[in-house]
Amino acid sequence: MIEGTGPALAFWGLSALTLVSAGGVIVSRNLFHAVLFLVLAFIGIAGFFLLLSAEFLAMAQIVIYVGAIAVLMLYAIVLTPRAGRDNRETWMAVPALFVAVGLAAVLLFAIHDTDWAKSARAYVLSAGELGRELLGTWVLPFQLASVLLTAALVGAVMLVRSPEEERKEEEE
């Protein structure tokens, strides 16, 4: 457990921010506002990472999620002008609500009923240790992740080529 009033205040503030932003994604009537609320939720999660002493991951979260993924979503909204931007729900919203509430109940019961093996000492992550592990024990998943990213990059570029470009390429 993390002692002190500073971390406690930070935890309650961050959880309020994150949960309210996630609620804002659901409730807001404008798709663009929903993405901005999602960005706020990402920043709240980055704050949680900081609280858990994983500074490098907090910064990486902001650079990747806020700086790249959220921007990609905004680009997709801009590039689809005639799609519906009112952030409505489908007809499946009511069953989805039941599923979500049921899952929440199960998860919360499981969390509070289990006897977790809490550790006495605080484990603080350092970026150097993370790097050594990634290139040491976990080097194979690391290389596979890089192959995955290359495949995603090439695949995304190929997917958005318009048919005229493909025809021009074939003619060459």
Binding site: A41, F48, M73, I77, L79, W91, V99, A104, A156
Partner: protein, 104 residues
């Protein structure tokens, strides 16, 4: 006042269910993607909370796994948005209720 493992896990569970509701119920494909990203973030939070606050043999595995989840999430968003844009080109919409048939 202290912050325990159950606090973090509760927030993670709530975020996960909120993300699940968004992913299941939004009409726009980008909205569904937002729900998926929220679910991935919630699981990252749970992973780091476990790594930091519990005892175990490989506590570095938590942050390492979070790195991989962030990487895969980035790749997935790129491909999903490319798919959405290219479906938009054909169907003029990315409403998941209307893209139900393989051939219009």
């Amino acid at each position: 006042m202290s912050v325990t493992l159950e606090h973090f896990l509760t927030v993670s569970a709530l975020l996960f269910t909120l993300g699940l509701f968004i992913a299941l119920s939004k009409r726009n494909a980008v909205g569904v993607l937002m729900g998926v990203e929220l679910m991935l973030n919630a699981s990252n939070l749970a992973l780091l909370a476990f790594a930091r606050l519990t005892e175990g043999p490989a506590q570095i595995a938590g942050p390492v796994f979070v790195v991989f989840v962030i990487t895969v999430a980035a790749a997935e968003v790129a491909v999903a948005l490319a798919l959405a844009v290219s479906v938009y080109r054909v169907r003029e919409t990315i409403d998941v209720d209307r893209i139900t048939l393989l051939r219009m």
